[in-house]
């Protein structure tokens, strides 16, 4: 997928993200069409290991969708063996560096909390008072509380955010 194609794809997603409740449902449907999680365990549950493995599998599905590479800034996803609330992701910005995704205890009902890379070239939170780091309304209200969405879905919101902050897109009013 070329960068222009990706922009177009993300622009379409962005339109859905900003639109009415009915369209939000369509967005949820569309995101879940790419991958729907079967295991809805939290990091505090005994079944978490299986959900963590499913996260890694889902990530590779996202990297192989019919849309091509929907997560161009993220190369791999791996669950931490030490802390069930951590995932490691390889982030490709101007340089390649590892980043940590932190999950709340009540994930996946709540979305992931943050992604911060070692050199802080990416530092994005679901909620933050500093607007330059905050996904905010991009995710809130669009995250499925059913547990069927996971880290790859959240990273897609991060991709939209990255594109919007680095390459502002003019939103069509239609």
């Amino acid at each position: 997928m070329s960068f222009d194609d990706l922009l177009e794809e993300l622009e379409a997603l962005e339109l859905l993200l900003r639109s009415s409740r009915e369209k939000k449902k369509r967005l949820e449907h569309r995101l879940l069409e790419i991958y729907t999680f079967k295991n809805t365990a939290s990091p505090i549950d005994v079944d978490w290991r299986r959900r963590a493995e499913e996260e890694e599998r889902a990530f590779s599905v996202f990297k192989r969708t019919k849309y091509g590479d929907l997560l161009p800034h993220f190369l791999s996803l791996k669950a931490s063996n030490q802390n069930p609330q951590y995932f490691y992701v390889i982030y490709k910005g101007n340089q390649i560096e590892p980043a940590i995704i932190k999950l709340p205890r009540l994930y996946p009902e709540l979305p992931p909390n943050s992604i911060v890379s070692i050199n802080k070239s990416i530092e994005v939170y679901t909620s933050h008072t500093d607007s330059s780091k905050c996904l905010g309304n991009l995710v809130k209200g669009r995250w499925s509380e059913s547990g069927k969405m996971g880290i790859p879905h959240w990273l897609l919101f991060v991709e939209v955010y990255l594109v919007l902050t680095r390459h502002p897109i003019k939103i069509r009013k239609t």
Partner: protein, 270 residues
């Protein structure tokens, strides 16, 4: 550990450092407060006030957690000054509290022990130990996810929890006091299965409004409830609503029920 009787006050007063003498006159058993450990999550507009009030009231140990640094936009609230810009809020606040309470003139047994942690509390491995080690937890946070993270742990360790929040226009606020398994927890109000969604509120711009006046009232009510829990006197209200938009109204609400399908209650309260 209720308030001191008039006789006890008279007896203790001459042996009390001047800094705490008025507290003894008010009947506060200062030696008991000196043994208490408090965790404050968030060192923003509410957290700095809660921390300072607790330190001035004689609490013995305070843990402060905050992920941000002091910025100029924080100056419309109380607590930080230009000298603090760029410093982690938790560390800057910890330094202030130590300077306020500890000096060579004050006997060591009256000194405060403060530890500031510059970190995001979600996923932070030490959080569980700090909650377990504290007598009470104050939530002065700015987001729902962190509140729910903390709520989970206070329910797990059965620690009283007092959450303060101001509205996005900063002209009203809420204080939620949780006595685990006895009063509704944060999840009972805002968790899944409730119809309340904080994110449905329309926002102007990116940042929420904040006013020092509202923050001071909310923080004072948080500390009032906290001291009553720590010293076992007075009445505890699970919910207090504060409205300042037109008229002034402070409404303590007693009759709030634990949500039957609250997943956190189901997990920790048999």
């Amino acid at each position: 550990m209720p308030l001191l009787t008039p006789n006890e006050r008279r007896k203790i007063l001459p042996r009390t450092p001047l800094m705490f003498s008025r507290l003894v006159v008010a009947g506060i058993p200062i030696k008991d407060l000196l043994r208490k450990k408090v965790l404050i999550a968030g060192a923003g507009g509410l957290g700095v006030l809660v921390a300072e009030m607790l330190a001035r009231s004689g609490v013995g140990s305070i843990y402060i957690i905050d992920r941000d640094n002091v910025r100029e936009e924080n100056f419309n609230r109380l607590g930080f000054t230009r000298d603090d810009v760029g410093r982690p809020k938790a560390i800057a606040l910890a330094t202030k509290l130590v300077n306020l309470r500890n000096s060579v003139e004050v006997p060591q047994e009256y000194h405060i022990h403060v530890r500031g942690f510059h970190t995001d509390l979600i996923g932070w491995p030490q959080l569980e130990n700090l909650v377990a080690d504290s007598d009470i937890i104050f939530s002065c946070l700015d987001n729902e996810e962190a509140r729910r993270e903390l709520n989970y742990l206070i329910m797990k360790y059965k620690k009283p929890f007092i959450d303060g929040a101001t509205s996005i226009d900063s002209l009203s606020g809420t204080i939620i006091t949780v006595i685990p398994c006895k009063t509704p927890c944060y999840e009972c109000y805002y968790g899944s299965g409730t119809s309340i969604r904080l994110n449905n509120v329309e926002r102007i711009g990116y940042c929420d409004a904040s006013l020092a006046t509202t923050m001071a009232i909310i923080a004072a009510l948080q500390v009032d409830q906290g001291l009553k829990i720590l010293l076992n006197f007075g009445k505890i209200y699970p919910l207090i609503k504060v409205y300042l938009k037109k008229e002034i109204s402070i409404s303590p609400i007693e009759n709030v029920k634990i949500r039957e399908d609250c997943p956190v209650h189901r997990r920790f309260c048999k």
